[in-house]
Symmetry: C2
Subunit: 383 residues, 2 copies
């Protein structure tokens, strides 16, 4: 069953319309038509249809383009919104696509087609796939390697020692665990200075270009101070948590700092409910890239977090796909890799990826040796 | 059934421990003990128990204090985390309480006891209940009234005319609909100037103190520019969307601007799933207050969004309850009030509240008259 409306037709991509596809799960007594209509009104004028003038309905209310039955009591609704309604900020874009309707039930944003005029308002990744390879001095088309300086509780000297071992092993990017912030065991500034110095010493003696990405957080002036400190310390990138920092803040960091941004998905799992929320391939695969993340960590389908292989592939495909003039971002599967079974995963994630191997390396008796094994396995598989 | 561990006993509030209560829903084959343990490790060291030294287990790993059976397959787990692990930022506090576990299933943060040392790191509301009453020149203990300048699609002149009518009617706070950002129909700066001028003219001629709160968004320098513009225009408060702006950014605004902040819950509904997420009374009732929101809009139990009366009361109670030395924030029920049935809701929400009556007033044939009715009803009920 399909009901399609006429008009403002084919190429959503050139006309300034955002085309958003939602899965609707109906509660008892709900009709698909009224649910789709109420979405269109709630997400724009936030008024019921009978109290909105025809003029406003024509100019700003979302339009239900298609309504199709899916499996069981589920329906698919395709809505179109004028892209100018997003107003240039991510908060408003999210408010338009998934604002008040978050407070209802059974509405999941499945897919979005973004018009060029909207994409043109967002800078996207400053580095992206090629830029990140350049930053680490990687000339081959192979996965980048990432090891994690962890866990919380170690001292700055201990963390710097791990960073040194990973750099010596030939790891491309060594990132702070995203749980490292400014805790007494390893205060932010002391940790950053020692870890950055460790990586620079190895780079000088080995002629390598390993990068240390500390975790960056805070708000207002504190965030600015932290950012200035990273840059003054010579850091070339940072780990951020977009779900808690906010996409506008991440976008500001991407366009105003010269740091590469590696996004961690902490917190974002609440979006990924099967009946209500935003699909991971939209949030992790498109929105984070639009906000300027150069690489996006997502849960690896063989790891300790739920996310099936198809979803991982969809996230990865979106991060790399054509999207206006935005640079591709690097898909970064993580969340428990078994070092002994890495080869199997190279096929899944391919050469345009960043393998985040945290625990398996950090918990080894000899982290440097474990990191060397990771580096060797990648090089052998992609030589 | 209850299993309680010894030690670091009674007064969580004075010892630098965050005490977090989670509801666990078990998947087939999951044991409550291992699920609670894995929470404690995942949210701190992000490693499995066997790879963490005893020293780190003692110093940083979360502790499972209690594990009790609830209804059906649900369990309640009380975990304690050293408050220093939150590191002073909201992103890290959220990452500690609800970070990687968001990517699992069946974990809901139900309640938190906040130690004083942690609360001391956050400024909370700059105005709060009393400050907001002062700002609007309200001397009686009665609910504040809030009308909404809407909808999207109107011109700055039309919106300013609505603001003028509401101010003349005696409304205390007139806020932008949170969907108004910087759209072509009503560009940010033009709208702010005209609406603020309208409210100031009425205040001068009537001797009143009505306030206009525009919606404020953006990231990085753009947010700073928008904020500077609001202050230069004479605005005394703003509407923000904390779920999309990020709590650290809101906290920065609260401590670095002199604006009162009215929080809108757009987007936050994804947190409120019954089995997985963060309870509304924690997020809306505590975290937004800690981040410095002076008033918090939440869905009214008789309105068009799901939220039962008990939850509304719990949010409201938390916003007003003692919480370190933080000022109380104003509970602001919204989301469809029937003007004819307001009296019934005064009992529910009480005098320490802010009634957000958007659509019912905005869609009236004579918005000023509808707003006058709202003002009169409140004054009569609380005289």
């Amino acid at each position: 069953m399909s009901r399609s409306k006429d008009n403002h037709a084919s190429s959503a991509a050139s006309e300034g319309w955002i085309q958003a596809n939602y899965a609707l799960s109906l509660a008892t007594g709900e009709s698909p038509e009224s649910k789709a209509q109420s979405l269109a009104f709630e997400q724009t004028v936030e008024l019921s249809p009978e109290s909105v003038s025809e003029e406003l309905v024509a100019s700003v209310v979302g339009r239900v383009e298609r309504l199709e039955r899916a499996e069981g009591d589920r329906w698919r609704a395709t809505l179109r919104f004028r892209s100018s309604l997003a107003g240039g900020s991510f908060s408003q874009l999210m408010n338009l696509l998934y604002g008040n309707i978050s407070l209802l039930t059974g509405v999941r944003l499945l897919a979005v087609e973004w018009p060029d005029d909207l994409l043109g308002r967002f800078q996207g990744p400053s580095f992206g796939l090629e830029g990140l390879r350049d930053l680490c001095g990687v000339e081959d088309r192979r996965p980048l390697t990432c090891a994690v300086s962890k866990p919380l509780g170690l001292s700055p000297l201990q963390l710097a020692d791990l960073v040194r071992q990973y750099a010596r092993a030939g790891i491309d990017i060594i990132k702070d665990d995203h749980s490292l912030a400014d805790q007494p065991d390893a205060p932010f500034r002391e940790r950053v200075v020692l870890c950055q110095r460790a990586v620079e010493e190895v780079n000088r003696s080995e002629g390598t270009s390993a990068a240390y990405f500390p975790s960056l957080g805070g708000g207002g002036q504190e965030l600015q101070d932290n950012l200035d400190f990273l840059r003054d310390s010579g850091c070339r990138g940072a780990v951020v948590i977009p779900f808690y920092l906010g996409l506008d803040t991440v976008s500001g960091l991407a366009s105003e700092s010269d740091l590469a941004l590696l996004a961690h998905p902490s917190g974002s799992g609440v979006l990924f409910d099967e009946e209500h929320g935003v699909a991971p391939e939209v949030y992790l695969g498109q929105l984070l890239r639009m906000a300027g993340c150069d690489a996006v960590i997502y849960p690896h389908s063989g790891g300790r977090f739920r996310m099936d292989r198809a979803t991982g592939k969809a996230i990865s495909a979106n991060l790399l796909a054509d999207l206006g003039s935005l640079r591709p971002a690097v898909p970064a599967p993580g969340g428990s890799f078994d070092l002994a079974a890495l080869d199997e995963w190279f096929d899944v994630y391919g050469p345009d990826s960043l393998f985040v191997v945290g625990g398996a390396v950090a918990r080894a008796n000899d982290p440097q040796k474990a990191a060397e094994k990771l580096v060797l396995t990648v090089r052998e598989a992609f030589s």
